[in-house]
Symmetry: C2
Subunit: 144 residues, 2 copies
DNA sequence: TCTATTTGCTAAACATGTTAAGTAATAGGG
DNA sequence: CCCTATTACTTAACATGTTTAGCAAATAGA
């Protein structure tokens, strides 16, 4: 039984894109007021959870490519939200840490960020929200 | 019952991002051989289905912002994959059409594109794949 | 009909996405 | 120990994402 060519509303890549826009729109608005981008926010969140991390690990967790992360870390350093040092045990690596100012910025905005996601969860219903997360993680786990 | 702050693997924005990367990776590789970007491909797909469309509609269907679309249409026009004309009934608008060369490019690559998505579908299972699409569309339909 | 507003698109500026190439430090094998 | 390959990042170049501003055409009222 052959399926027809999918139109945009039944195309997985576009459905993923639209869903992400729906979720990120309000969060981006919030971050805009603090003059920080969505990607910078993701990096800060990772550093808040791990306290210190090397760029490769940050990139993996924040779902960023290293060239993008390089520029982002430069900007976060300029804003004095993070500090960087060379790893003395392996001088190819770096140790990135969040500063007090960075932690303060996270703590000031995390409640709103969580509330916005809670709103999505409430509108979808907890069960379907969790089911969606499960399916997305399952998709991420396939071969590729 | 309060939930803990979500870690990255349980964060909806990042889960959407990772899932999209998983799906688009192979498709991007395919398009790279034809020297066309993922976004240019989306625009071409819309034009193939509608034959003629105005930029605002294309942007909506391909999930692009108008400033991005402006540049993309300029490049597709240079590549002679589309043609543009002013709409004589409303001279603010344009009429964008796909050329024969554009249609040929789509037809040469669509089977592979579909096969790659079929592969994802097979690995996830049809039911879960469809369930994922339903949940994504449901997410897109909430208030925001 | 005149003007204020809206609509459709473009331009500009800055940030990131993506690929390819480059550099320095480390690891591995002979 | 030397040479090669690998790893961790950086740089560069081009394309898109995102916001703001701008322009011309059309529309809505007064």
């Amino acid at each position: 039984m052959t399926r027809a060519i999918p139109t945009t509303n039944r195309s997985l890549p576009i459905a993923l894109l639209r869903a992400r826009e729906k979720v990120m729109g309000p969060i981006r608005n919030m971050l805009h007021d603090v003059d920080i981008t969505e990607q910078q926010w993701r990096v800060m969140r990772v550093l808040q959870e791990r306290h210190a991390a090397e760029p490769t690990k940050i990139a993996e967790e924040a779902c960023l490519l290293l060239p993008s992360l390089t520029r982002i870390l430069q900007k976060l350093e300029e804003k004095q939200l993070i500090v960087r040092a060379r790893d003395e045990k392996d001088r190819r690596k770096q140790v990135v840490k969040i500063t007090d100012a960075g932690r303060a910025l996270i703590e000031a905005n995390l409640p709103t960020s969580i509330a916005l996601l809670e709103d999505v969860r409430r509108q979808m219903g907890s069960e379907r929200y969790e089911a969606l997360l499960d399916l997305l993680n399952e998709l991420d786990a396939i071969d590729g």
